[in-house]
């Protein structure tokens, strides 16, 4: 998903779209942890043992798959469903994924998904959920404000 070969990145987007397309919503949720792991392997490293996963250091500035509209759209759709309807573990993974999506995407690629992402995050954060989920959602919203709302 972070190859320098544009053709390969395009193939990855098409393949992921194809994998998701025939799965029921509940089965799609199971793939959110896979997406999270894949992004963390490529782009994220822990910056402090004490802080754990809350604060991370970026290994790369952006992920090539998230520089395309299609790439962001494919992942955002599934993650949005997962954060709204998944189990608590799925929702936490989804919040992490949204955080990475906001942090590692190109502004133009995520532009059309911003309202949907914020809507889902705000909708879930107002419900009764444990702090581990709410904290990740607030961090994602903070990233949205600091990174994507710059003029």
């Amino acid at each position: 998903m972070n190859s320098n070969d544009k053709g390969l990145v395009e193939k990855v987007v098409n393949a992921i779209t194809a994998i998701f397309s025939k799965l029921r919503k509940e089965d799609q949720f199971a793939l959110v942890p896979v997406v999270r792991e894949a992004i963390e392997e490529i782009a994220v490293e822990a910056s402090d043992d004490h802080l754990g996963q809350i604060v991370y250091r970026k290994k790369v500035q952006s992920i090539k798959m998230l520089e395309t509209k299609e790439g962001v759209k494919t992942l955002a759709g599934v993650i949005q469903n997962s954060i709204l309807h998944g189990s608590l573990k799925n929702r936490v993974d989804s919040a992490f994924c949204f955080k990475y999506l906001i942090d590692f995407s190109a502004p133009l690629a995520i532009k059309t998904e911003v309202i949907k992402i914020c809507g889902a995050l705000i909708r879930v954060v107002t419900d009764k959920f444990p702090p581990e989920l709410k904290m990740q959602i607030f961090l994602a919203l903070r990233l949205m404000l600091t990174h994507r709302c710059k003029r």
Partner: protein, 152 residues
């Protein structure tokens, strides 16, 4: 394909004829499948897919395609167009394998992935998964996370 002859149903066995024409039973790496042969073989792939794991003759086609796609090391003179045609034929067969043989084809796909990683041709696996997921009638949700993890 079936034709009615003198009131009796006769099988034309066109797929066998095409396979013989393309020298599949005597296939070897020295005697490679050409682009046009791959295109012809793709046309019979849905019919052949039913029996690739039960009849040796049809399994020859599957093995030949797999051998060409996973030839190690990668031959520079292979030609991307020819490889793409062979891959599409291979994907067509994988996608049309009957549902009850899903476990076997899944193992083949996994093996294909490992060989692609070894050769550095992950693009072939990604194309295969895309076509397979779009066209298979099998339910692959149990293994979807493997496919997704390997693609990503």
């Amino acid at each position: 394909m079936i034709e009615k002859q003198h009131g009796i149903l006769c099988e034309l066995k066109l797929e066998e004829k095409v396979m013989n024409l393309c020298h599949i039973p005597t296939h070897s790496i020295k005697n490679q499948i050409t682009t046009s042969q791959a295109i012809m073989l793709r046309a019979i792939a849905p019919k052949v897919a039913d029996q690739i794991f039960s009849k040796k003759f049809y399994n020859n086609l599957f093995s030949a395609l797999k051998d060409e796609l996973t030839l190690d090391p990668v031959q520079p003179e292979q030609g991307p167009e020819r490889i793409q045609a062979i891959l599409m034929c291979f994907a067509e067969i994988c996608a049309h394998v009957p549902t009850h043989e899903y476990v076997v084809i899944n193992e083949e796909i996994l093996e294909f992935y490992l060989k692609c990683v070894k050769r550095g041709t992950q693009g072939l696996y990604i194309d295969l998964i895309q076509y397979y997921c779009q066209n298979t009638s099998s339910t692959y949700e149990k293994n979807a996370h493997f496919y997704a993890a390997n693609v990503l």
